[in-house]
């Protein structure tokens, strides 16, 4: 195993992790406010295509990134409208958002398939640090979105746990009637959380189409949105654990191609003889294992899931 290959393993780990972490962080915000949004896949696709098209038009990856976030927020707003304001079933509305979002993205992007924007996100190459052996490429020579994702993760943690807004958000995820009684607007909090969550998913989509797999083709999100939904459970609705889960997931994804070319023996097993198909199911096996652990640890306590998750709120039915 060469140095380049080992460094590449961790560079790719961080990038795959960033992609799903951004989307999952958005989903976490929505779920902490009590709204399950299964439309992440659709929002990511819309973000990927709109970000790509804005990138083509403007030549600016940042303009593309924020446009994708705006589109993600708008698409998330649809879910908010249907499931929060009108009180429709969140599962149905979210699934509709995924199916509709994928279809709409395919339609919107039908004429830009195969095109390439002038500029994409480029690796930052932080002066002086990027040249450090081993660690330089992994920590100091990543695209800017990676660092932004770290900052956003910290910001979400801070807002959720250290501010009044965060308290209100978490409260509405535990019990909407109580929050309503205190005088907060349930609708505004939840709709806001869903739209911010959508913005995160849209931004994640543009990271895909403007860096990880430059270009737009239908189906390019390839299930990452569903991974994001699973990661929120995996992370027990906490940003820190979410980051850990994302890194673990990114690592298994990055390991899959590289293990096949590593000619090393581990515990008497030739690693490049391990089936990559087996490796591919690792994240999902991990998810199930973590679910079991969570439910075991919380067997005498309330589950870490927001108590009002998935429950629509209608004041008159209180």
């Amino acid at each position: 195993m060469s140095e380049a290959a080992l460094v590449g393993l961790f560079v790719a780990t961080v990038q795959f992790a960033t992609l799903v972490f951004l989307a999952a962080l958005g989903e976490l915000i929505a779920e902490r406010a009590g709204v399950l949004n299964l439309g992440v896949e659709g929002m990511m696709a819309m973000g990927a295509v709109s970000g790509f098209m804005v990138g083509l038009e403007t030549g600016s990856p940042w303009a593309a990134f924020f446009a994708a976030a705006a589109v993600g927020a708008l698409v998330g707003g649809l879910h908010a409208l249907v499931s929060v304001l009108l009180g429709a079933d969140q599962v149905v509305s979210g699934l509709a958002l995924t199916i509709g979002g994928l279809g709409l993205a395919a339609y919107v992007g039908r004429n830009v398939v195969g095109e390439r924007p002038e500029t994409l996100f480029t690796d930052l190459g932080i002066a002086g640090l990027a040249d450090i052996r081993w660690f330089g490429d992994i920590f100091f020579n990543q695209p800017p979105v990676v660092y932004l994702a770290v900052l956003l993760g910290l910001a979400v943690w801070f807002v959720l746990t250290r501010t009044r807004l965060g308290l209100a958000l978490r409260a509405v995820g535990e019990s909407a009637p109580t929050t309503d009684a205190v005088g907060h607007s349930v609708m505004a909090l939840r709709a806001g959380a869903v739209m911010v969550g959508g913005a995160f998913a849209g931004a994640a989509g543009s990271f895909l189409s403007l860096y990880m797999a430059p270009g737009w083709t239908e189906g390019m999100v390839a299930g990452r949105g569903w991974i994001a939904v699973a990661l929120v459970i995996f992370g027990a609705w906490r940003p820190g654990r979410l980051a850990l889960g994302a890194l673990l997931f990114g690592f298994t994804l990055a390991l899959q191609p590289r293990l096949q070319s590593f000619d090393i023996e581990l515990l008497g097993v030739q690693v490049n003889r391990i089936s990559p198909a087996l490796l591919g199911i690792l994240p999902f096996v991990l998810t199930v294992v973590v679910l079991v652990i969570i439910s075991w640890r919380y067997r005498h306590r309330p589950s870490p899931a927001p108590a009002a998750l998935g429950l629509p709120y209608r004041r008159e039915e209180r």
Partner: protein, 371 residues
């Protein structure tokens, strides 16, 4: 309200098309027609979007070619899942509502529902790409000997690589893919005996992020040329970014990574679609298992990059000529597998069955043929 209106509209359309189909059947009874006649239609079921630049794009180019050549009306639906109910719904709509006379289905997973439909609609011709089932009257299959241009693309790649390490991003360990990798490797070895082909399985036909990363991993491991059996362009973009080279697949993808592109084994379905449409219209269609090669032009090699050495380019032309005239084919012995066992004896050539069941890697491939 809107729902009721849509329902009414649907009923009206259904009634009208039933009448139309009735007329269509009368036409059929009247004997041979011209493909350009009103009422004749050829319908295509695609597994991906026509804009995928790969597999489905190539089929759609074939459809457009056949339409231009025959004047036939052609219909298509994109991104139809390989789910029996979905496929059925699309095909039944083509037949009942659009009066389709021939259905082309372009993915392996459509095979079983297509067989059933062929039984239910004996007056419609069913043609299935990449499958192996057929019947005596109205259901045939077709595919191309992609391993032939893959061998030629391997020759070009073998001449270009300086590291003598070529990375191959491959979808699934099925005979079609193994055959392609082996042919590519044999071609590369022909011009460069020291070359090794390192295979990475992605277990996906289309996931650009994973395919691009797999190419990056192979490049990190020391490869300087990337070949692929995938439907996205991501491996080429990864090669271009790393300053490495790329052999694409399905279509000439030089526009996606112009600096990296060497050449590509490409599909050319048009002439086959034209022939089948003509035969169906003339009433002379008989189903078969078509596996055409470069002699039929259903598969071909894209133009070579300018830096492929002239002597290698000339040799590629010569080999291509011997494939086309039938005097030589790719899997001609002596060929050894990864473990050094002789799989094709000197002077012998593999028959079609052996090629269709190929389950090993030839010498020079580094990787696991049954992961």
């Amino acid at each position: 309200m809107a729902k009721k209106f849509l329902l009414k509209l649907l009923v009206v359309i259904a009634t009208l098309t039933l009448v139309a189909v009735g007329c269509g059947n009368d036409d059929d009874d009247a004997g041979p027609v011209s493909p350009s006649d009103e009422g004749f239609a050829a319908a295509f079921v695609f597994v991906g979007p026509v804009g995928d630049a790969g597999w489905t794009w190539a089929h759609n180019e074939g459809r457009r070619y056949a339409e231009a050549q025959t004047g036939a009306t052609t219909l298509f639906v994109e991104s139809v899942p390989e789910v029996a109910e979905d496929f059925r719904a699309v095909v039944v709509d083509f037949i009942e509502n659009e009066g389709a006379d021939v259905i082309f289905a372009t993915s392996f997973g459509y095979m079983d529902p297509m067989e059933e439909l062929a039984g239910e609609y004996p007056d419609v011709v069913f043609e299935h790409a990449s499958g192996y089932k057929k019947n005596e009257t109205n259901f045939g299959n077709y595919f191309g000997r992609m391993y032939q241009p893959r061998y030629l693309s391997g020759m070009a790649a073998g001449a270009i690589t300086e590291a003598n390490q070529i990375g191959y991003v491959a979808a699934f360990p099925i005979p079609e893919v193994l055959r392609g990798i082996n042919a590519f490797t044999l071609g590369a070895q022909r011009v460069n005996p020291d070359v090794e082909v390192h295979v990475t399985w992605t277990f996906t036909w289309f996931d650009p992020a994973v395919e691009g990363d797999s190419a990056a991993a192979l490049l990190e491991a020391g490869a300087d040329v990337i070949a692929m059996h995938q439907d996205s362009t991501a491996p080429g973009l990864a090669a271009q970014e790393a300053g490495a080279r790329w052999v694409s697949y399905n279509s000439d993808m030089s526009a996606f990574a112009p600096d990296a592109f060497i050449t590509a084994p490409v599909w050319n379905w048009g002439p086959y679609y034209e022939r089948i449409i003509e035969a169906v219209a003339a009433g002379t269609y008989t189903p078969g298992s078509y596996w055409g090669g470069m002699d039929d032009e259903i598969v071909a090699l894209a133009p070579l990059a300018a830096d492929v050495p002239a002597d290698v380019a000339a040799e590629i032309d010569a080999v291509a000529a011997s494939i086309v005239d039938g005097s030589w084919d790719v899997f001609t012995g002596e060929i050894r597998d990864q473990d050094g066992n002789v799989v094709v004896a000197a002077g012998e050539t593999l028959d079609d069955l052996a090629m269709l069941e190929m389950s090993y890697f030839v010498e020079g491939v580094v990787g696991n043929a049954s992961p």
